[in-house]
Symmetry: D2
């Protein structure tokens, strides 16, 4: 993670992600946000795979996206992910999606709020170590 | 469309739509909203396929979802779609997703704002007939 | 299930399933086959959801598709599913996909071989009752 | 492209690609093959995006996959793509999918046959330059 609390990831738009309008279908932007979130957690030091293996699940409770420009097949899309809010039982990520090639353009901004649940589906607090790591990363954002 | 300006559609959750949490992955809710929107327009009398064939595209500019309960494989999900706002160059749909079987539950609420673009990507007004049909349907919501 | 051992299901092509060629992206045909398979098992009397709940998983080991004509947005696609082969630890389904509206056309034929695994990932035999139901249905195909 | 006519690509399994069995859903393997095919063509010197812009479409006419082991969330999957057959109006790719981390394993082998169509949907020959490039690459496989 860079010192400003932002993790940068990249995806290339797949043909499967286009629709008949000739652009990436709108729900895939949220999948790319998930790619960004996965990388963010890896950089914070706690992969999401490990978190689930420990019995804690981060479930999407809210998702908002504003679409500014279309992404096209084979475009390189940069995802800048940061924390917007950290709570003991929830964490809110913010994403900025930018086309890098060909020709830079802001594609979208998005947020997702995730709540922590146990394997039984009941709310749980985030583990202390993860909460500290999130708060530390958030402080640099 | 019912007299209250709401179109009701149904989908059954596909195995392909589940994720390793054992529930439907969150972006598919927006795909189900698109199913509801397609039916809404069919009931208003202007299929979206015809609209595109005439050179007008409705592009998602904003999407917000609140997730309330998980949908699971083979659940029947009811999508109630209505118009939230009608503008000459944009239309905002609101969706309520409900699990019908097994055991009723409110799954999510969502909105999508769509803007009208021509084949050249420039903003356009909705055709008069469609605008009237939308406004008429909206008046009953 | 009809007396000839074929289960018929229908899906409507979603906008999300199209690609920039203006037709349904090729992998979605296999998702529609899964819809057909789910219905087939329901008609045989053993929903796949129940099977998994009992600790048995049917895992796709092989999938072959021949594409004959494109499916387009909002087309109604009929999926005719039947059993091609029944073994104690594997079952092979065959699918014929046909466009019903607008204008009938054979879209694709496909097969998927599924093997039975326990929750531990080890091969298992299909439960006797299911095996009998499959063999009975297959005998009518 | 390496001197043996194989292009190597990598994807990381996305959470959205898992299903409730806890592994990647089977149709995504074909999407990864498409990622491999896109890279293959880029290395041959003719991006598929350019090909479509010139009015030529490569349409999947056949797809076969054998699944050998499951891919899981966050696994790194290597896709080795080569040409299996080159015809004037069709080209057949072969793919080997391997898990690189954690713990190497052969995941699947696949083939897709693509036929060349014009914008009108009629069969066309591949452009001479592309045909030569394909044949040259194939000769090294």
């Amino acid at each position: 993670m860079s010192t400003n609390g932002i993790t940068t990831s990249r995806v290339r738009v797949r043909y499967s992600e286009t629709d008949q309008m000739g652009v990436a279908y709108h729900t895939h932007y949220l999948v790319w946000c998930e790619v960004g979130r996965t990388e963010y957690m890896r950089e914070v030091g706690a992969t999401y795979a490990q978190l689930e293996a420990s019995g804690l699940f981060l479930v999407v409770a809210q998702a908002n996206v504003r679409y500014l420009a279309p992404a096209r097949y084979d475009d390189t899309v940069r995802i800048d992910t940061c924390l917007q809010r950290v709570q003991s039982r929830a964490v809110t990520f913010h994403y900025t999606l930018t086309r890098e090639a060909p020709g830079p353009a802001r594609l979208a901004t998005a947020m997702t709020k995730l709540i922590a649940l146990g394997a039984d589906g009941a709310p749980r607090s985030l583990p202390d170590a993860l909460l500290r790591a999130f708060r530390n990363a958030h402080a640099h954002a």
